[in-house]
Symmetry: C2
Subunit: 413 residues, 2 copies
């Protein structure tokens, strides 16, 4: 039985240019933290990620959703979580503010993720294991597949999971090897050239085989110069991703994208406005075979469906602390599997939650184990920070989804 | 000089099934009301519309934007309002919560609309007149055309307005005749058949030549029965629009849409999820020549651009109290003119603000004067309620945008 929910506003200023991109010059990493307490002394922690002052709006909205859980039996809710999720996301009092996007959807993510964390803690297993233990039917019961009918029916979802289940043992080795990571913190926007060069060398020494560079400067020559620095340092075999954080309009993206092709980027991330599916399609056609990555700011499964239908997304970066939580993350991952597009999450959670989800996507759904973004700047604040060894996430073994925060956990339920 | 801003949370419960649709069973019409005070004793009132408890989140966000106006000169801000608007809509502290959608964008609408209202009051003219008095360059300076470069350049926008300006006098007669209205309140979702029938008769008696019926029932036969009642009462010459409020998935929309074609609806409104541009395209192709109307829940110019690019929207229902206010409404109206699609706003403002905007769209931009939605349920709360005579909005003559509310105006600045 769920006894109480407390929502906390947690802010973590970063130092020395860390986290900077073409939009955010002085980012304050912020979490809406939903703490869900049961009557057995368990506390489920669910995060939504934001950047700064707006976090308090998300906290207020999360309290609204969270109160609807009090007095309920979690096992019952999780047995048909897809229904619960759809009811909450269509709440009369909040639906106008979306639907299914922005403050209200971020808030629903925090509460949803707290449910999954508590569910796993009650069963004393890590979240990846809980998800793998569910039957295809049980798993699909946690999803809301509405507005996807023409591309993914319930039966098709169950069949996909059942089929992947048959070949699981060929993919379970990753639990020992660890899931590959890529380094986002080599090339933040405000890092000077010397620091960028040093960071790239350090990334290689740490065992990373892929890293990211922030672009989207007012002067495209700056982007090209920095991209060349990175490629020169890491050599031809390391994957280099460039991330424009939506700073380009379509004509700019076409022009700069063609110039960046010279350094052979593995993808171009968020080239333009995240709502602009058709511009991404035009851009993808113009830059092919260079691929685009999108998803960090895409709020829900419906827009992801449109991205997949146009075929313009080479990589889908759905983030479980941006869309409506673990449930919608899995829904989008199923859509991607259907369309044959890899899922490489954006990690607003610093990879804490996503290290579980990508293991499930690979083992339970048959997605390729490409790599998972790694951002270390908040590791000192987590109770069980993700552990990266030789460029690989070590499989988490503690019960839950690894989202407990030291500063939050000291509050009593 | 702007001296102060006060943001009020105004709620208006409706009675007897009024305002009900397939999503909202007991709607509470709510306004975030931004009151902007200058040092001459003027108060500019700007609205954003929501439905219920979430309104307080929008109010909190509006205070954040509004405070940035204090101490500023309004004339200076309005001289390049497009720049101000872009800066605000990309504010680091709030951008992650959108961008350009949901709570933060609604909040920006309230503040933006207060600026336009105050601007018109300072010049002692109604807003429609203020907009018509601007030169094409001045008007385009109030717009943010970013992310539209491939379809609408600044020069093209100015040229379109200049060209429309040459033929203005042929369209100014509407100021005397009044802008045609259509009746939304005949067919709310929860009205029983007898009330529906009586309302339709009453609408005809009041001079309306077009009215709307809410559909999207769990049982499609209910929709068909009600649609037939309406058509039988009003006869073949009256325009009947049906509004599904997003309740159908794509297969349902195709199936029910084909059945509804029998009563010859003028449009089908919000047939499915408002983010699902591609499903609207598939549906429009399946139901042609029947046309779709979308926009009530479309948050910004970028998504409207995609709707226009696919050609699936027969009518664009952009709402200036849903997108980022008057400025973005005009931007979207220019896009529609470029693509040859009529603008028929959804009136979250009950038509108070939009009666000004459609006059500008017709006279200043050359849009067809089709009709404007009319919803009378809040008229007792406005200082200058819209006046409908023989099915036509009477041209407002008071200074400003007609958005002052009686309950709010009693507060001192």
């Amino acid at each position: 039985m769920i006894k109480n929910i407390i929502v906390k506003d947690a802010r973590f200023p970063l130092k020395g240019g860390a986290g900077s991109d073409a939009v955010h010059q002085n980012p304050i990493y912020s979490y809406t933290v939903a703490c869900l307490y049961d009557d057995k002394g368990n506390c489920g922690t669910g995060l939504a990620f934001t950047l700064g002052a707006g976090n308090e709006l998300v906290c207020a909205a999360a309290r609204f959703y969270g109160e609807k859980l009090i007095g309920k039996d979690l096992t019952e809710i999780m047995a048909s979580f897809g229904d619960w999720f759809r009811q909450r996301s269509d709440e009369q009092q909040f639906r106008w503010l979306g639907p299914h996007k922005g403050v209200v959807h971020l808030a629903l993510a925090a509460v949803t993720n707290a449910c999954y964390d508590l569910w796993a803690k009650q069963q004393q297993v890590p979240l990846w294991k809980l998800l793998l233990n569910l039957s295809p039917e049980q798993l699909v019961n946690t999803l809301d597949l509405s507005y996807l009918e023409e591309v993914l029916s319930r039966k098709e979802a169950i069949d996909m999971l059942a089929e992947a289940s048959d070949s699981r043992n060929t993919r379970e080795q990753i639990l020992q090897n660890g899931y590959p990571a890529y380094d986002t913190s080599a090339g933040w926007f405000n890092y000077p050239d010397e620091q960028l060069e040093a960071n790239c060398k350090q990334a290689l020494e740490k065992g990373f085989r892929a890293l990211k560079l922030k672009v989207g400067s007012r002067n495209p020559d700056t982007d090209i110069r920095r991209a060349n620095i990175v490629r020169n340092v890491v050599g031809p075999d390391i994957k280099v991703m460039v991330d424009a954080n939506q700073q380009w309009n379509l004509p700019q993206a076409i022009s700069i994208g063609k110039r960046l092709a010279d350094i052979n980027p593995y993808w171009i991330e968020e080239p333009t406005h995240p709502d602009d599916v058709l511009s991404h399609k035009i851009l993808a056609d113009a830059l092919a075979p260079l691929k685009l990555a999108v998803g960090e700011h895409v709020p829900n499964k419906v827009i992801f469906k449109n991205y997949l239908q146009t075929g313009c997304a080479g990589f889908i970066q759905v983030d479980a602390v941006r869309v409506g939580g673990v449930s919608e993350f899995i829904t989008v991952s199923l859509l991607c599997k259907k369309f044959g597009v890899p899922v490489v999450p954006h990690v607003g959670d610093m990879g804490q939650l996503h290290q579980h989800l990508v293991l499930f996507n690979h083992i339970g759904m048959g997605h390729e184990a490409l790599f998972l973004e790694h951002i270390p700047h908040l590791r000192e604040y987590f109770v069980n920070p993700a552990s990266i060894v030789d460029g690989h996430y070590q499989t988490p073994q503690e019960p839950g989804s690894s989202c407990d925060l030291l500063s939050i956990n000291s509050f009593a339920g």
